[in-house]
Symmetry: C2
Subunit: 332 residues, 2 copies
């Protein structure tokens, strides 16, 4: 059911389970005990980083499917995407699943874009079980968006570290103890930021727009949530986000965190935190989902955030449009 202009309420949609596969660096971070699989080598026995990313995507799908006790036949569809051109991780990984596939591109917001559409499909009676997944890989993303690792280029002070990881969620009409209550779809928001090494600043306005719209259209307040979580704004973007929300009349500071600030220790060579499709996908499906299962947090608003730029658009002098989709998960 649609309420307001951008928000949907769901009657009968549940998060069955989730799965996460991460790289070596992520596996040494503070959330390491939450992940289903930690790679010993970021190439994972493949001959390219792209193929390793695809393998992670496939493994996340398989793990999620198996944890939910579903056969391929019982999976109605996959919604998925990733950061690589033409979403080759998602489409190649989904080849062997013999299941309907919807390819998405929402940059780092993809996991929430997919869960939102999957929830609509389940609530609308078009599917019973949907797999949602997203991935990124530090080394394939560096090569595509910046420089191949072999060039040895240095990160700028505001740049974030792309997470090597894939996360998958199983969305279903079968009751579980995590209900998907509502979601808000995002608009493209562009305040004119052009620094492709400062994604947090480019994406924070989109997150603030979507989260404030969600709160307004559901008539709730930040304190109604145990956790409001953005995808990958990083340290700088997180600070900005708190300010942008304050400007809109919401004090989120006591319940707010960002996946990009959670996955690494501060001394893990990523001063501004993490980013990438795999960031929210693994932090949510790994850690937050488990904390909800364990009844440590009950009411969570997850808003993954995407920067819809390309190297070509940046070269041509364009600013960076951002987008964010929010999902409200509730422990029942």
């Amino acid at each position: 059911m649609k309420i307001g202009k951008q928000t949907f309420l769901f009657n009968n949609v549940y998060l069955q389970t989730g799965a996460s596969v991460v790289g070596t660096k992520e596996g040494e971070g503070p959330l390491k005990d939450y992940f289903d699989l930690i790679l010993k080598d970021d190439k994972w026995c493949e001959d390219s980083f792209e193929k390793a990313e695809r393998k992670m995507f496939k493994e996340a799908l398989e793990l999620a499917k198996n944890k939910a006790n579903l056969t391929n036949e019982q999976v109605d569809m996959i919604f998925g995407g990733d950061l690589l051109n033409q979403i080759i991780s998602a489409s190649f990984a989904s080849r062997e699943m013999d299941t309907v596939f919807f390819g998405l591109y929402g940059a780092c917001s993809t996991i929430c874009e997919s869960i939102l559409l999957a929830s609509c499909m389940v609530d609308g009676g078009f599917a019973n079980n949907v797999l949602c997944a997203a991935s990124s890989h530090f080394s394939s993303a560096e090569r595509q968006y910046r420089f191949p690792l072999e060039y040895g280029s240095s990160p700028t002070p505001t740049s974030q570290w792309t997470v090597t990881g894939a996360g998958a969620s199983v969305i279903s009409d079968k009751p579980s103890n995590i209900k998907i209550v509502a979601g808000t779809a995002g608009k493209i928001i562009d305040l004119g930021i052009k620094d492709a090494n400062n994604m947090g600043a480019a994406m924070a306005p989109a997150a603030a727009d979507t989260i404030s719209t969600f709160l307004r259209e559901t008539d709730t307040q930040p304190e109604d949530y145990d956790l409001i979580l953005t995808g990958d704004l990083g340290l700088f973007g997180k600070e900005l986000m708190i300010k942008l929300m304050a400007d809109k009349g919401y004090d989120i500071s006591s319940v707010y965190n960002d996946c990009g600030c959670m996955i690494f220790y501060k001394d893990q060579t990523a001063p501004m935190g993490a980013s990438g499709c795999g960031c929210a996908a693994t932090v949510f499906n790994g850690a937050v989902r488990q904390d909800m299962e364990d009844n440590k947090v009950k009411n969570v608003l997850l808003a993954a955030t995407g920067a819809m730029l390309s190297p070509v658009s940046s070269f041509q002098g364009e600013s960076i449009p951002g987008i964010s989709y929010a999902i409200n998960f509730r422990r029942v």
Copy 2:
């Protein structure tokens, strides 16, 4: 409502209208009288082909919205995508619409992927009016997938010509004279074809899989349709498609055509016909929709087809996965 494994029936979904913007070459082809806008110059006063593509996308959205007499406020959401990396045509064009945006990547199947998801959103009660759009541009696609035009490289005998064009559809719950009756979502199908200059052969198996699934799950036969239309298989792919369907027990030859074989005259330097996201998007929204309005064809099955490759996947020796989504439009 879901019937079978991949097919949905819709109760109350209509195609309100559609719009098309095409380049100069397309505007000299056999369908020229159907298009809403024909560019006089493929750069359209912009300083890059990418920006011209984006402008076409935006114009197609605006034209479709205006033809349907909708304000921005009345448009609930946009589903869109294109061939450029990170779908910059769709996302940048949607910036100023101030509307919910869902970015898709289905390669040249995108217009059908978007109409199928939009139909689910409308039928499920999550939206009243949805804009669906897709675009491609010969010159931006050549630069990204093959070589910049300035290199003067020659096409191979089996290659197709990427359509310069953008098409948009308005999907709505308000009754019109074209009803969207049903749709079938596709699986990723990969028979191991590796020649990136022979997309028709790579995509035909996906089209055959989706169309035969549609016919089986709706319990209909090819002769029940006035027109079965694939997206951009081209001349070689069209022949292959007829054979693949015959292998599955369906003779489609008398009702079958391919948008990629319709948009150019044979002497327009595109021996194998056309391809690109803009191909099915403009041929359907321009010509086929108009013929339905004029009651010349009543029952149409449109199955746009996408090749989910990237230059990187081809360089790394991968085959080309294809996908196709089918939509059944009926004149009422």
